[in-house]
Amino acid sequence: MGYVAVKGGTKAIEASIERLTYDRLQESEVIEVKTIMATMRALVDQVMSESSLYSPFLAALAIKQAEGSMEEAVFIMRAHRSTLPRLHYSNIVESESMLVERRISASFKDIPGGQILGSTTDYTHRLLDFSLASETKLENDQWMKNYVDKLEQAVSPQDEVLFFPKVVDYLRQEGLFGGHELDDTPPTDITKENLSFPASRSARLQTLTRGQTGAVTALGYASLRGYGQVHPTVGEVRVGMLPIYVGHPNEPEQTEEDSYYIGEIKVSEVESFVPVSVKNEQNEAELDFEIGYGVCYGQNETKAIAMSILDQCLEHPEASFPTHDEEFVLLHIDSVEATGFISHLKLPHYVTFQSKLNSVREVKRKGESNEE
């Protein structure tokens, strides 16, 4: 059976798109992009992270256009990103330069600089707050005023801006963790070249950090449950703002002091400590620790922790565990690729399905004639 070209449906498609607009507008409510930016921070952060494009405004606009669908918002952002020229590469961002807003460790009670909870839902009761259904701006303004007044009285600022040392560096200085020399090998860019296997560490991290939150979390969880061999202790979770600098595009001799500051990005960063068995100089097995690394745009600590688990899994390929198989992990966590492929099943498959039906009919016809 050959392929049959068909056409039609143009009017129906146009009407369907009108219907989509109708559904968005029928309740006569308008949500401002700035409202989404101000009140749906976690959603905006996830869209930026999964689309690999940091722009709270564009992410909020995409959420509005997609009516809150994550996969659609990420798709729109990725599509828009492909229309923009890449003007610069940043200088190397060192996360020690983070202006920390939140920082905790599950490994040590007393970390240098202390544990700062910042803003988190971790300690809230997960009970629906029905008062939010009728909150007013007046009440909110009053709450804000009271809070600011309380802080004014309670807070005594220090002398200078604090930058917190990393827990892992502290442990390295103590000689408890092995150190690594700075590795300035130019990273692979998976937006410029197809992912190939075995993947470089940089390709793995880039793929993981833009992975779909649910997919990365699910696979990290699978590793903990036995479909992998990594069960870490979180050394440090930090959330904060990282400054971004860009070098001059044409000046041949320039130092860091000649670079441009362009702004800052919020990220969540995690170092997980994973116990491993290594052989010492006497060829005896002893316990050591390796570090799994996770980072992503915005405040999305679950994703960053799951990424740190998968990073460590993929550092140690194990054929018998799916979460240690980089093709399995890296090829299935991208939002646009996964949702796009699943969605394509909705597209017309008339010819292929008719072909399958014909085969079934033929088999049944032969079966019936044999019975006769």
């Binding site: 996360s95 560490r201 702004g263």
Partner: protein, 140 residues
Amino acid sequence: MRRRRRTEILVQANPNLAASLANEIKQTYTYKEIVTPRHGLTMVKMRESAQKSLFYIGEVLVTEAKVEIQGEIGIGIIQGMHDEVATQLAIIDAAYNAQLPETLSWTDTLKAAEAEINRKKIKQQAELMETKVNFETMDV
């Protein structure tokens, strides 16, 4: 004042600062727009802390503008979509590159703005310290 420090101040300070410095230049000198403000991407290269290697975390939306004053090119780059600010930053960059005398008088203004930025950051950090955990060890 070197570019890194002054752009840190100009981007983080009240936007009126960049506007007023750029206006000062525009009143005395003519400038030519080499690149009108355009939106584009900056790929962010990051060092991970487990093995100290490099990778790309993703791209950041930026606005970039380029202007020329007295034969010197100035570049303005800022995160997000801020066409006017990008042009103002480019004019200020060109003014420094052309060593215009006005730039000498800007140092004190920029230092004052820097002090204000730091004061706000210190205050915000102090407020965050209200959420610092004070562990108490229990006798068991």
